[in-house]
């Protein structure tokens, strides 16, 4: 499990994006998803996010907790409500909508 720590110290008044990325091994889709996510976060949420990557091949028992079916799945734990974005996150627009960073058109 790898973690990328927030770049800047989070201030309590600021919103923090708690993100969890579910993958199954180092597949091209998983790697792409992580890279795409990282890029989007840096652009839009610098210093305000926290990504936890969970590899279900290593911890299959964690799949049911967040109701994971599709791989990769990005779960936005915070801010509430919980949202899920499935896919390799190559569709930046949809990721932004899913993360609530852009109004749905």
């Amino acid at each position: 499990m790898e973690k990328s720590k927030p770049r800047a110290r989070s201030r309590p008044t600021e919103k923090i994006w708690e993100l969890r990325l579910y993958v199954a091994g180092q597949t091209p889709k998983s790697l792409a998803a992580f890279a795409n996510l990282k890029k989007i976060c840096e652009e839009h949420l610098a210093g305000q996010y926290h990504i936890e990557v969970i590899d279900l091949l290593k911890k299959p028992q964690l799949a049911s907790g967040d109701q994971i079916l599709a791989i990769p799945t990005l779960v936005r734990k915070l801010p509430a409500p919980i949202r899920k974005i499935i896919g390799d996150l190559s569709d930046t627009e949809r990721v932004l909508v899913g993360l609530n960073l852009r109004e749905q058109k």
Partner: protein
């Protein structure tokens, strides 16, 4: 269960998994294909989930095959509640590691699709569940929910196809439930991916009578009946009624029981009916069929046995009153609880429901003797073939439980005796009652048409209902008397 034994030889050809659902294993020759997926399709409320659950729970409890139930519609709590009334304790099975219920919740509104994905999450969950208890059976109920949750149908179809193949590779016997489609077997065409066995469940209402039916659309590598089989959902779950199946391995008790009438006992080799046999009393109106049944019930209760009397024409009060007039007092037995009446008009509900009721009451009351008076009334609610199927099933059930069964059957005046639904071959002792006219007087005559496994009288005897009871004697036919007696 007998089908297991019967199909042992065939098992080598195509291994099968017993469903444990009464009747189902008989029509499939041993159950569902082992290590392969089976598709169970049907409209809402026709028993798909129940079918799947029974397959799984029976596997876990009776055949040492743990199972995983992946539910896409109901959570574990709801499922457990739904089947608790069938006596399935899902929580206990889960604790014993014989069963895993995995509720997969997919919420369209929560999901955003952004790029390529697969369903590895589902595979991993399922694989983890299977491996953690060594599951041999899997249920996916109802995986089609995914079609409304995910918009990329291309990915979904490819993944489902991969899933079914993967289940096969895992060697688990899977049941996949699906909604009935309009003009197709399933709404999303899952039958294209599950090629081994397809079962269709149906629930229809005909003339206000509801009947459930099951049909095996396809079963690769196996001969199977293409008929529609009626099935019931009882308190114990699904029960399929295979019309052709008659278990012939009933125990045949050698014990005899009195008919309640000394003279009739004498006609039946001096000892009366066989315990656990099926007895038919047929006759025209007013010949005393019910009286003969009541005499038997009275005698049984006096021996300390329990009786269950299904009356389709007369009320309890009426029967008790009428029988009292011929010196048979049934009310003490009713008060004691050893005799129970069940009165219902045949037209009150469908044949299926009658069968359920009969099953249920027999299970509750645990009788030694069951009376169905008269069985001919069933023709009001079903076709000839249906009635025969149901009666066959009842007789089968009673024999298997070694319950002595007495049926009365109404015959039209002047018709041959054989009008009885073609069940005569299932009957062990058949007594015919007739009105005989002689010299301006009507007489009741009684004779034994057949009685398997015992020497019995061939005479036609007179049969009289008096206030002192039922009297059977020589027929008063003057001139013909000698001739008849010598017969």
């Amino acid at each position: 269960m007998t089908p297991a034994k019967q199909t042992k030889k065939r098992l080598e050809l195509l291994p099968k998994s017993l469903t444990g659902i009464p009747g189902m294993d008989e029509i499939t020759g041993g159950g569902l294909p082992q290590g392969r997926p089976t598709l169970v399709a049907g409209a809402a409320g026709c028993g798909k989930t129940l079918f799947a659950m029974e397959f799984l729970v029976n596997g876990a409890t009776h055949y040492d095959e743990p199972g995983v139930f992946v539910s896409f519609e109901e959570n574990a709590e709801e499922l457990a509640q739904n089947v608790a009334s069938l006596g399935f304790d899902l929580k206990k099975l889960s604790k014993q590691k014989k069963l895993i219920i995995d509720y997969v919740r997919v919420e369209r509104s929560e999901i955003e699709e952004a790029g390529e994905y697969d369903l590895d999450g589902l595979f991993i969950r399922l694989g983890h569940a299977i491996d953690s208890i060594g599951a041999k059976r899997v249920v996916l109920d109802t995986i089609e929910v995914l079609f409304s949750a995910l918009s990329n149908q291309g990915i979904l179809r490819a993944e489902l196809q991969r899933l079914f193949r993967w289940l096969k590779d895992k060697g688990v016997s899977a049941v996949i439930t699906a909604e009935r489609g309009d003009g197709t077997i399933t709404r999303f065409g899952l039958e294209e991916y599950v090629a081994d066995c397809v079962i269709l469940l149906d629930h229809r209402v005909n003339e206000q009578m509801s009947t459930r039916r099951l049909r095996i659309v396809k079963y690769r590598g196996t001969l199977h009946g293409t008929n529609e089989y009626p099935f019931l959902i009882t308190k114990d779950g699904i029960s399929v009624l295979p019309i052709t199946s008659i278990g012939l391995d009933h125990k045949a008790p050698a014990g005899r029981v009195s008919t309640g009438i000394k003279e009739l006992d004498e006609m039946l080799g001096g000892k009366g009916y066989y315990r656990g046999s099926s007895i038919l009393l047929s006759g025209t109106a007013g010949t005393g069929k019910s009286s003969l049944a009541a005499a038997f019930v009275d005698a049984a209760c006096q021996r300390g046995e329990r009786c269950l009397y299904f009356s389709f024409e007369e009320s309890t009060e009426q029967i008790i009153r009428n029988m009292r007039s011929i010196g048979i007092n049934l009310s003490p037995h009713v008060k004691k609880g050893s005799l129970q009446f069940h009165v219902a008009r045949p037209t009150l509900y469908g044949l299926e429901m009658h069968l359920i009721t009969i099953h249920e009451l027999i299970k509750q009351h645990k009788p030694d003797v069951v009376v169905l008076d008269p069985i001919t009334d069933f023709f009001a609610v079903g076709s000839h073939a249906e009635v025969k199927a149901v009666l066959t099933r009842i007789i089968d059930f009673l024999k298997a439980n070694q319950i002595t069964a007495l049926f009365t059957s109404y015959t039209e005046e002047d018709t041959p005796n054989e009008s009885v639904v073609g069940v005569s071959s299932l009957i062990d002792t058949w007594i015919s009652l007739r009105n005989l006219e002689n010299r301006g007087e009507r007489q009741r005559g009684l004779f034994i048409l057949k009685s398997r496994g015992m020497p019995h009288s061939n005479q036609i005897r007179s049969f009289n209902l008096t206030d002192g009871g039922i009297k059977i004697g020589a027929l008063d036919l003057a001139g013909r008397r000698a001739e008849l007696n010598s017969a």
